[in-house]
């Protein structure tokens, strides 16, 4: 990239400023790299006479005893947490996965339309909900079964949980932006029919048209 045009009559060792510069560059490149870095990949960035191996050893020494070490793995170099601190990383080794599109859509409908039934969710989404989406949302702790709607079939009603509010930093459901806000932020287009409404979500106690869940519901799910 940028080539060093230093007239390198002297050995590197006699040029502490150059050495420092090389060390800094190596440090930055290895830090920013997604994979361990081979010395030859560092070459183009360094001054012509740089002794890469020596520089790497020097840098490794500098990091020795620190919280992070520069380590060599099969001729390639990487920064790693010091062995004796690796417990820090094991502490909470939970994998964080982004919510799937389908789950996100389902969650958003439940959030706005609650208390709502599976059939109602499917009506808004226009596709039938796989069993998996509701399960995932329950597992995440973001939705719960509230009760049963007093209509034929007695479908289960769903609503969001306190963890849901917590995760999305909402103080209450009222914090969900309304129609005008969604339009104002550009999320909804302004060319919507005037009769489009966004329901007022409700997570209070069971409503008149809801019955409590009975004991078999858990298994049924």
């Amino acid at each position: 990239m940028t080539s060093e045009t230093v007239n390198n009559q002297m050995s590197e060792d006699d040029r502490p400023d150059l050495e420092l510069r090389n060390l800094r560059i190596i440090e930055a490149l290895i830090f920013a790299s997604e994979k361990p870095v081979a010395p030859k990949d560092l070459q183009p960035y360094l001054s012509d006479m740089a002794n890469i191996e020596a520089l790497l050893e020097k840098l490794a020494k500098l990091y020795k005893g620190r919280g992070v070490n520069l380590v060599k793995r099969a001729d390639e170099w990487a920064f790693r947490t010091a062995d004796d601190l690796s417990y820090l990383l094991r502490k909470d080794n939970v994998e964080t996965r982004p919510l799937s599109r389908a789950s996100l859509e389902t969650l958003s409908i439940i959030a706005y339309h609650q208390p709502t039934t599976r059939a109602e969710i499917e009506e808004v989404r226009g596709v039938s909900a796989g069993r998996g989406t509701l399960d995932i949302l329950m597992e995440a702790g973001w939705i719960k079964m509230r009760g049963r709607r007093r209509t034929p079939g007695r479908p289960v009603t769903y609503g969001t949980t306190a963890e849901f509010l917590d995760h999305f930093s909402l103080e209450s459901l009222a914090d969900l932006p309304g129609l005008e806000e969604l339009k104002g932020s550009g999320l909804l287009s302004n060319r919507l029919p005037s009769n489009l409404q966004i329901p007022m979500p409700f997570d209070g106690p069971l409503r008149d048209d809801e019955d409590p869940l009975d004991e078999f519901d858990e298994e049924e799910q």
């Binding site: 930055a28 830090f31 920013a32 790299s33 997604e34 994979k35 990487a78 920064f79 790693r80 947490t81 820090l88 990383l89 502490k91 909470d92 080794n93 939970v94 994998e95 964080t96 996965r97 982004p98 919510l99 599109r101 789950s103 996100l104 859509e105 969650l107 958003s108 409908i109 959030a111 706005y112 808004v124 989404r125 226009g126 995932i136 597992e139 995440a140 973001w142 995760h167 999305f168 930093s169 909402l170 969900l176 932006p177 969604l182 932020s185 999320l187 909804l188 287009s189 302004n190 060319r191 919507l192 029919p193 489009l196 966004i198």
Partner: protein, 273 residues
């Protein structure tokens, strides 16, 4: 004071024609039509800023009167060539025509409306502010940015310092997912009709912009009609802007007054707003 704006327009005409010719030779066939890429402007203030820059003086020293005339002439030419112009541009034309009249007619002592100088200073301020924000944006975007010149750890090690959430989603994604679904459903069975009517919302926004920061009485209806209306639209414009202005009064945004029946309707921004 305004003698040189004609030169500028002619000059503009030829250069615009040149660039038009490169893009589309059919435009050249009618060489009397000024080729104006109004799409290239980010709204009327942007156009004004561009015109102001062509005065080649510091924004603090531009002639606002000349600028107003250049703008009006510009809009007039485009309208003659029957190019559709967004309402935003016409609103500003209306305002500038008003400004021009205030600048050219000496102010009577009893006059309740703001002085031309005051309006001109306001416009100058807005141009300066827009330019400043634009420069600030350029400076921001040219900073060393994360992921381009400055880098985070390339191979972060998996630790969850916060809580152990299994799934990640943010509020924005949630709202977006919801909006998209609601909109998708509508599109399937809703085809908006194109009506030649000023929506109340449009009228409201236009009025608000027109009134802007004015703390003094402004009479706008004449200008609105002259610049915004084709003859067949008079009714809807008057109706919508009148209704919208009432709404704005009710909400405390503006005040209205009329000295007698059929006198011009004056409005200004509400004092405590």
């Amino acid at each position: 004071m305004v003698s040189d704006n004609k030169d500028w327009l002619e000059q503009e005409q030829t250069t615009q024609n040149d660039s038009g010719a490169m893009q589309d030779s059919s435009v050249m066939q009618d060489s009397s039509v000024m080729y104006v890429d109004i799409e290239g402007y980010e709204g009327p203030l942007d156009l004004l800023l561009d015109l102001a820059r062509k005065q080649k003086v510091d924004l603090a020293n531009i002639s606002i009167l000349a600028l107003a005339e250049q703008y009006l002439e510009f809009i007039e030419k485009i309208r003659k060539s029957r190019i559709d112009i967004a309402a935003d541009y016409l609103v500003v034309a209306a305002w500038l025509a008003y400004l021009k009249s205030r600048l050219m007619v000496p102010q009577a002592p009893s006059d309740d409306e703001p002085s031309g100088e005051m309006l001109a200073a306001m416009l100058q301020f807005r141009l300066k502010r827009l330019e400043a924000m634009r420069n600030a944006g350029d400076q921001l975007i040219n900073r060393a940015r994360l992921g381009r010149q400055i880098f985070a750890r390339g191979a972060p090690e998996q630790i969850i310092i916060t809580n152990s959430q299994t799934y990640e989603a943010n509020l924005y994604d949630l709202l977006k997912a919801y909006s998209e679904q609601r909109e998708k459903n509508i599109k399937s069975n809703y085809a908006p009709k194109r009506r030649n009517v000023w929506a109340l919302q449009d009228a409201r926004e236009i009025l608000q912009r027109l009134i802007g920061d004015n703390m003094d009485w402004v009479s706008l209806d004449n200008y609105l009609i002259k610049y915004l209306a084709k003859e067949e639209d008079y009714t809807t414009i008057i109706a919508s802007s009148f209704t919208a202005s009432l709404e704005l009064v009710r909400e405390g945004h503006v005040e209205l007054k009329q000295s007698a029946h059929f006198k011009p309707l004056l409005m200004r921004r509400a004092k405590n707003n």
